[in-house]
Each structure stands twice: as structure tokens, then as C-alpha cells.
């Protein structure tokens, strides 16, 4: 498989949020603004690349019977490292992500890629897959975070972008707004994807 295809699959054809619909819980919870979305995306990319790399290296060493506990130990290790460094060097973001940072351990995306890709493919392909999936996840989060921040707070990256007379619509910051927006975004993304593939054929 070509590396460029693996990379593009992660972002578009198998986008974890818009197409595979996995890892939704943290997506809805942390995407209240762009900064949180980027930070969460970065944390997931770091964990995903790390765990894909290690699991790909160990794929012939780990016996099939204990692969799940082995994967979980590897993933949990990377999550804990990311957590420690975020707490030490980016405390405001650490507080904003709250429980969802340690919960990356149980994020379906990570285990799914370990099981479906890294345990069957070479080291380079696994790293590329981790980056592609991670970026796909981050893009979804940032789009959601940008819309929620602009309409829910009138700001973008913390700067006021809508006129001060705009009264922010709190619903965008709250969970129901996230659900509704994500549903609409999934629809739009897949419509665009379908149009593109039908124009190719």
C-alpha cells in the first residue's frame, strides 16, 4: 500500500470522526474552543504515533492471546507520559481537557488502529497511519471547535471576532449544541465525499 494513500485514508476516506464515527465522546466534550481542540488533537497524535510505532515494532513478539492487554499497557504508558508533560508545561490546557486527557487510553481510535493496522503493518506505514488518523481526528475537532467558539463565545482563538453586541448562543458551548453540529458536519462531509467520488467515476 502506498504511504500517500494510507495518509489520505486517515484524513478523508476513513476519517475517524466523520466516517468511522469512533472516539466521539472526547470529540463532543473537549471541542468547546479551538485551543482545546488543537491541544486534544496534538495529544491524540502523540499517543497514536507512539503506540502505533511501538506496537508495530513488537508485532511479531506479542503473542496473539495477550495482544489486547499488551496494547493497553503500551497505550496507557504513552497517555500517562503526555499527561505528565502537559500538566507540567501547559497547565491551563491540562485543566481544560480535564478527565478527557487520561481517557485517551480508552479512546477507540487508538486501540482500533493498534488492532487493525499497526499489529499487521510495518513501522513506517504504522507511523504514517498514526499521523494521518491523528490529523483526521484533529481536523474534525478543530472545525467543530471553531464553529462552537465563534457562535458560542463570539471569539476565535480567544480573540473577539464577532461584534461585541453579539450575544453568544450558549447552546453551541453545551453538549446538545455539539451533538447537533457534529451531526450536520458528518452529513456535509459525507455529501462532499460522495460528490467527489461520483465525479471521479
Amino acid at each position: 500500500m502506498k504511504l500517500s494513500k494510507i495518509f489520505r485514508d486517515g484524513i478523508i476516506n476513513d476519517n475517524p470522526i466523520f466516517v468511522q464515527l469512533i472516539g466521539m465522546c472526547s470529540t463532543l466534550a473537549v471541542s468547546t474552543n479551538v485551543v482545546n481542540s488543537v491541544a486534544m488533537g496534538a495529544a491524540v497524535i502523540a499517543v497514536l504515533v507512539g503506540s502505533n510505532l511501538v506496537i508495530s515494532i513488537l508485532r511479531n513478539v506479542i503473542p496473539d492471546k495477550i495482544r489486547i492487554p499488551a496494547f493497553v499497557v503500551v497505550i496507557a504508558t504513552f497517555v500517562t507520559i503526555v499527561e505528565m508533560f502537559m500538566k507540567a508545561y501547559a497547565p491551563p490546557i491540562y485543566e481544560a481537557l480535564g478527565i478527557f486527557l487520561p481517557l485517551i487510553v480508552v479512546n477507540c481510535i487508538i486501540l482500533a488502529r493498534a488492532e487493525a493496522f499497526a499489529s499487521k503493518n510495518g513501522i513506517v506505514a504504522s507511523i504514517v497511519d498514526g499521523i494521518g488518523m491523528g490529523i483526521g481526528y484533529t481536523i474534525a475537532l478543530v472545525v467543530l471547535g471553531a464553529i462552537r467558539e465563534i457562535f458560542g463565545a463570539g471569539t476565535f482563538l480567544g480573540m473577539q471576532v464577532l461584534p461585541a453586541s453579539y450575544q453568544p448562543a450558549g447552546i453551541f458551548i453545551m453538549p446538545p449544541g455539539a451533538f447537533i453540529l457534529l451531526g450536520i458536519l458528518i452529513g456535509v462531509f459525507n455529501l462532499a465525499r460522495r460528490k467527489k467520488s461520483s465525479s471521479k467515476a
Binding site: 506479542i62 503473542p63 505528565m84 507540567a88 508545561y89 497547565p91 450558549g170
Partner: protein
């Protein structure tokens, strides 16, 4: 049997390596994390008692005694101006509308409220969440501790206001009966 041992050993090796890696990263970060945590409390305390004040945690035996009767109390700090004790700051919890509120309430030795800080909350944005804004918190500054403390409620956030007041009044009792003398 042999198979089980082999699996166990492989899993153990993975776990040991992982523990080693974690120990290293813990060593790299732990000092900075502790420093930041202290700075966080200090910021809230300085916000209440002013930039020049010094703080010392209350004697642990006394804190445990207070917590025995008032489980809402989390931590107590003594505030000093130079060498003289000027007041106490009590970190405590109370029930809000959306969950627990973590508050820091400061009392001056002359029997007035030095200030209030809302450290953590999960109140409704736009209503109860306004409790963390200075506009609301400053309503407490200077109020006497001799009687029940009341302030004007946040519009549309009766439950949050009641929760904050209940918490503040509980630690007011603590201050009056066990700290101020």
C-alpha cells in the same frame, strides 16, 4: 502450563519497561508540577489578601479537628502581613446547581470577609457561571462575620447563589468559633 508462563513473562517485560519509562518522565516533570500547584493556590490567596501577604498552611492537627465537624473544609491557610496574623483563608466545597463548588473564602481578624474566590465549578454558562466573575465575588468583600452573610442573588441563578452562601456561612461559623480567637 509452559505457555502460560511464557505469556506472563512477555507481559511482565512490557509492563516493566513501561514502568521504567514512566518513572523517568515522572522525574522530569514532578518538580515543575508541584511548583505550579503551589502557585495556583497562592494566586487565589494573593487575590484575596493582596500581593504582599505571606501564607502558611494551618497546623495539621487543628485542621483535622475542624474537618471532623465540618467535612466541607478542604484546606486552611494563615495569612500574615510581615509577622502579624491578619486572617485565614479556607478552601471549602459546597453544592451548586451543576455539581460541587470549590471555594476559597478569606476572613480578616477584625471580623470581616476579606474576599471570595471560586476555584472550581460546573455551573450553567451565562447564569450560575457568573459566580466566578469579580462583579459577584466582590459583593462579599467587607461583610461582617458576626451575622448570617447575605448578598444580592445572581439573576436567574438562585441555586448557585444559595450554594455559595451556604458554603460561605458554614466556614464563617468555623472562623468565628475555632479560628478568630
Amino acid at each position: 502450563m509452559k505457555e502460560t508462563v511464557r505469556l506472563g513473562i512477555i507481559l511482565m517485560i512490557i509492563t516493566v519497561v513501561s514502568a521504567g519509562v514512566l518513572a523517568i518522565s515522572n522525574n522530569l516533570t514532578k518538580d515543575r508540577i508541584a511548583e505550579l500547584e503551589m502557585a495556583g493556590s497562592l494566586e487565589a490567596l494573593r487575590g484575596i489578601f493582596g500581593e504582599s501577604a505571606n501564607f502558611k498552611p494551618l497546623d495539621e492537627g487543628k485542621l483535622a479537628e475542624i474537618q471532623g465537624t465540618n467535612p466541607a473544609v478542604v484546606e486552611i491557610f494563615e495569612a500574615y502581613d510581615g509577622d502579624s496574623l491578619t486572617g485565614y483563608a479556607i478552601k471549602h466545597t459546597s453544592k451548586g446547581f451543576g455539581g460541587d463548588l470549590v471555594l476559597m473564602t478569606g476572613f480578616n481578624m477584625d471580623g470581616t470577609v476579606a474576599g471570595l474566590d471560586v476555584l472550581e465549578h460546573s455551573e450553567t454558562p451565562g447564569l450560575g457561571a457568573k459566580a466566578e466573575e469579580p462583579e459577584f465575588r466582590n459583593r462579599f468583600v467587607g461583610l461582617s462575620t458576626s451575622g448570617e452573610i447575605t448578598v444580592e442573588a445572581l439573576s436567574g441563578a438562585t441555586v448557585t447563589t444559595t450554594g455559595v452562601l451556604a458554603g460561605v456561612n458554614e466556614v464563617r461559623e468555623v472562623f468565628n468559633t475555632q479560628l478568630s480567637n
